[in-house]
């Protein structure tokens, strides 16, 4: 084994770059995935997720950089010899074969004995909870069953890493919710490392141990779902993961971690800066506040939170657990979404009511405003 024999990374990318002509689809991406974890890559459509995944699978060759699986470079290894398998966006089950044929395909390629193929196929079918599906044709399966067969077809080969390219994209909402949980359970029972790409933040947040947020070919931030949600490091992550109210403005004053912001509309907020952004007075910034971190104040018992506003309810957006009030701030005509507390408190608020809202400085995140280099 090479120098770093103590690694427990199943997969490592170093400065992987891929361009199509002038267009850089994947730009110096580096990451490491520990054995047995569920790693998601989350990003908007067209940000380069599929390209990255295809490089891992071997269908595309990086222009620069290094890909290591279990510590060994696989750049010279063609797709059919890489110890990774892929679940394709549209599953790519072979319609000319039965379910058994599909699952046995990879085993046959490895010259596994007939007897063993039979037991392994039966075993994996049992584990994906479809023990009797073996003789069915692919077109006799439902969407969710196909999903599981596509995963079983890969897992039966015991790959080091399983790559999944938005496999839930084609399913309807209800099934998608259900498959999210199932996928996570499957990953846990098989213990295989999953790399899952999606543009759906809820999929990424629910299933993953680690999530990388990708934008325009680059990784913006890699972290646990909680870190991404509560401690976004870039304005893109703050905006992309979860809902947020967003303002633009500039810095009026800095007192340690606390900074005073004046928005373009004229609001004054007290916020917190991300340490590595090293903001100075006068910098243009973006400010993010999550709807659920805004308190609706009880008029008799006001808090001492630094950001206090009075506004008028202009709309009640009822969506069960995700219900929100839309509130207008009268002095600037600006709007802000506020989560409806699930305790039933304030449920009587109606359109036109006036309320006080408040939030902590820590919940008010400031990022330097620019579209390009957030790290500099």
């Amino acid at each position: 084994m090479p120098e770093n024999s103590n690694v427990t990374f199943d997969l490592e990318c170093r400065q992987v770059t891929k361009s199509f002509g002038d267009f850089t689809a994947v730009d110096q991406v580096s990451f490491q995935i520990p054995t047995g974890s569920f790693f998601s890559i989350l990003g908007p459509s067209g940000c380069g997720k599929t390209t990255l995944l295809r490089m891992l699978a071997g269908f595309q060759h990086p222009d620069k950089g290094e890909i290591l699986i279990k510590g060994k470079s696989v750049l010279g290894t063609p797709p059919n010899r890489r110890p990774v398998n892929m679940v394709f966006q549209h599953l790519a089950l072979f319609p000319t074969m039965s379910v058994t044929g599909n699952i046995a395909y990879g085993l046959k390629r490895r010259n596994v004995k007939r007897e063993e193929i039979r037991t392994r196929v039966a075993d994996v079918l049992k584990r994906v909870d479809l023990p009797d599906a073996g003789d069915k044709r692919i077109d006799q399966l439902s969407g969710g069953q196909k999903q599981r067969i596509a995963i079983a077809r890969c897992l039966v080969l015991k790959p080091d890493v399983l790559l999944l390219d938005e496999p839930l994209g084609a399913l309807d909402l209800k099934l998608r919710e259900q498959m999210k949980v199932e996928l996570k359970l499957l990953q846990e029972t098989f213990g295989t490392t999953f790399i899952y790409i999606t543009h759906d933040q809820s999929e990424a947040l629910v299933m993953s141990d680690q999530v990388a947020v990708m934008n325009q070919g680059r990784f913006e931030q890699v972290g646990t779902p909680q870190e991404l949600y509560y401690h976004p490091e870039t304005s893109f992550v703050a905006g992309f993961v979860g809902d947020s109210n967003r303002w633009e403005g500039h810095i009026d004053a800095i007192e340690g971690e606390r900074i005073q912001i004046k928005t373009v509309e004229g609001e004054s907020f007290v916020g917190r800066s991300i340490v590595k952004h090293q903001l100075k007075k006068g910098d243009s910034v973006e400010v993010y506040v999550r709807p659920e971190s805004v308190n609706i104040e009880n008029p008799k018992n006001r808090s001492d939170l630094p950001n206090q506003c009075r506004g008028e309810v202009i709309s009640v957006l009822f969506d069960g657990a995700r219900s929100q009030f839309l509130i207008r701030l009268p002095q600037t005509e600006g709007e802000i979404s506020v989560a409806m507390p699930q305790t039933g408190e304030h449920a009587q608020l109606r359109k036109g009511d006036s309320i006080n809202i408040a939030w902590a400085a820590d919940q008010c995140l400031c990022f330097r405003r620019s579209s390009g280099n957030h790290d500099g």
């Binding site: 699978a57 071997g58 269908f59 063609p78 797709p79 059919n80 010899r81 398998n85 892929m86 394709f88 966006q89 549209h90 790519a92 072979f94 319609p95 000319t96 074969m97 395909y105 990879g106 390629r109 490895r110 077809r153 890969c154 080969l157």
Partner: protein, 287 residues
């Protein structure tokens, strides 16, 4: 009239033109052919019912052999066409994109803008002793005297394959086009070699196209007249030529009809056997 019989009635009305066409243009002439083939000339303008024209086919080794040879050469032509057309179609369907793809496809069509006769004469000009190829071979010094490449089975084969190419390429490109690229990639991803992917994924998917292309090419070759006659010359020995001869130069419509019916039956049998062998059903292939 209740509803279902009404819909059945209107269905029949809709089908009527088709049924008429089938009856008048396809079935009737064949019925006539069958009745002609079942009579034997006794003396001038005097005929009796007889199977002689059919038994003649099996008794006279010449006719039987000519048919076997025609069928065999047609099968061979079909296989060669398939072998050449498959990579070409794969290239057009899977490797090419956009305008280049259309261009390549058109390129395959071009030979069919001229008539079969002209196309065949084109090959004759190329292959004949005083033709282009022979002159070229002499010019580069590979041969010190004119080479005759016309009037043999190879020339017939070239002509048949050339004439058939389009009819193989079109169904193949269509089926291969409908093969999702991700299926091929999945084939590799799960550990398949080029050969595995070809035999386990691409060919099974293309099978309906392969079989329908093969049926068309086989029938076209079997029924071809000009190409074998012109390129094969003195040894062409094609069954359609035999039919033509019986009808046109022998005025023996009885024998000619019998040969025509036999050609229909035997070629259908061969196609049926081919379908059985490739485990395809006719409806599957033609849809």
């Amino acid at each position: 009239m209740d509803k279902s019989s009404y819909t059945r009635f209107s269905l029949w009305i809709l089908l009527l033109p088709f049924v008429l066409w089938l009856l008048l243009l396809i079935l009737l002439p064949h019925v006539d052919m069958v009745s002609i083939s079942l009579r034997e000339r006794v003396s001038a303008r005097n005929y009796t019912f007889s199977f002689k024209n059919y038994t003649e086919f099996f008794i006279e080794p010449l006719y039987w052999r000519t048919f076997v040879r025609t069928a065999w050469m047609s099968v061979l032509a079909t296989l060669i066409t398939l072998l050449i057309a498959f990579p070409v179609s794969y290239y057009i369907a899977k490797m090419m994109r956009g305008r280049l793809k259309a261009l390549l496809f058109i390129l395959c069509l071009i030979p069919f803008w001229v008539s079969e006769l002209v196309r065949t004469y084109g090959w004759m000009i190329l292959l004949r002793e005083t033709g282009l190829l022979s002159t070229f071979l002499q010019w580069i010094g590979l041969s010190d005297q004119p080479v005759e490449m016309l009037y043999n089975d190879v020339a017939i084969m070239i002509g048949l394959v050339y004439t058939s190419m389009l009819f193989m390429v079109v169904p193949l490109v269509t089926t291969l086009d409908s093969l999702d690229d991700s299926l091929i990639e999945a084939g590799y991803d799960l550990g398949g070699s080029n050969w595995n992917v070809l035999t386990e994924i691409i060919i099974p998917h293309a099978m309906p196209g392969i079989v329908s292309g093969c049926i068309v090419v086989f029938m076209l070759s079997l029924g071809n007249y000009l190409t074998p006659i012109l390129l094969g010359g003195k040894d062409s020995l094609w069954f359609t030529e035999q039919i033509f001869t019986q009808f046109i130069t022998r005025f023996n419509w009885e024998q000619g009809s019998a040969f025509g019916i036999l050609l229909l039956i035997l070629s259908s049998l061969i196609v049926w056997a081919g379908l059985k062998l490739s485990r395809q059903s006719f409806t599957n292939v033609m849809s």
